[in-house]
């Protein structure tokens, strides 16, 4: 398979609508779980999309390929900040939200049409932290584990 892929799955005890908002329009919430980063977009198919760092640095840019709230979001995603990652060109990030009992199964697939992608290696380290923070923040209201919580 001449491409690099990563798949991340998390079960988050929330509703698809709340999770969708956390992934898209709720930028204040986003900053808390995405290390100060925010994603800006119109969130409909064809709209531009970008991710900015805490100081406004452009980290990634692209466009929304598919948007079916609160179920499926596909972003064409090109890294902007590091030259060696930018030159790899666009990757495709698919977010799938499925209700399963009292939780929502969030599956994130990040793919690029090249082998041994540096971008995919870079995101493979970042996504688990972001998703883990997101889950913790939605379920408990804080990103750090509170050991005193009963």
């Amino acid at each position: 398979m001449a491409k690099s892929t990563y798949v991340y799955v998390s079960y988050i005890r929330t509703t698809p609508e709340k999770l969708w908002a956390a992934l898209t329009i709720d930028t204040e919430f986003q900053k808390q779980y995405w290390f100060g980063n925010t994603c800006l977009s119109g969130w409909t198919a064809g709209s531009t999309w970008k991710m900015e760092g805490p100081d406004g640095t452009l980290m990634d840019a692209g466009e929304i390929v598919e948007s079916d709230p609160p179920k499926r979001l596909v972003i064409r995603w090109t890294h902007q900040w590091k030259p060696e990652l930018k030159e790899e060109g666009p990757s495709l990030c698919t977010m799938l939200l499925e209700q399963e009992g009292s939780a929502v199964k969030l599956s994130i697939t990040h793919t690029i049409e090249r082998e041994n992608s540096k971008l995919i290696t870079a995101v493979s380290g970042g996504w688990p932290k972001v998703i883990s923070n997101l889950k913790s923040l939605i379920e408990t209201g804080s990103i750090a584990v509170d050991v005193n919580k009963k």
Partner: protein
């Protein structure tokens, strides 16, 4: 499904050497089919399928369908949660020690 049950499934899934070997194989090379994984284990196809089901239930692997094939990927998210729960606090002193060392060395250098 409760948090306690999630943790039980996770540790039960990890408490088996064949299942850890499957995770190791996916760690080396992701996106493998059942046939590919069977080649590396001295076990029946049915046995491998059952272990993969336990790993999937514990959310340690994610799967993607490609035509008639099912591709398996290591899902590191629950392991990240273990790391944050028990290990990440030990990172802070180490990072502080490095920062202190850098500050001291650079001060001596200047």
């Amino acid at each position: 499904m409760t948090e306690a049950r999630d943790a039980d499934l996770l540790f039960k899934a990890l408490a088996d050497s064949s299942r850890r070997k499957l995770l190791d194989l996916l760690n080396v090379h992701d996106g493998r089919t059942l046939n590919d994984l069977c080649e590396h284990l001295d076990m029946t196809r049915q046995g491998v399928t059952q272990h993969l089901a336990v790993l999937e239930e514990a959310n340690l692997i994610g799967t993607v369908r490609r035509g008639r094939e099912k591709l398996h990927f290591l899902n590191p998210v629950p392991l990240q949660e273990i790391y944050e729960r028990w290990i990440s606090k030990f990172e802070k002193p180490r990072l502080k020690a490095l920062a202190d060392l850098k500050r001291r060395l650079e001060k001596d250098h200047g």
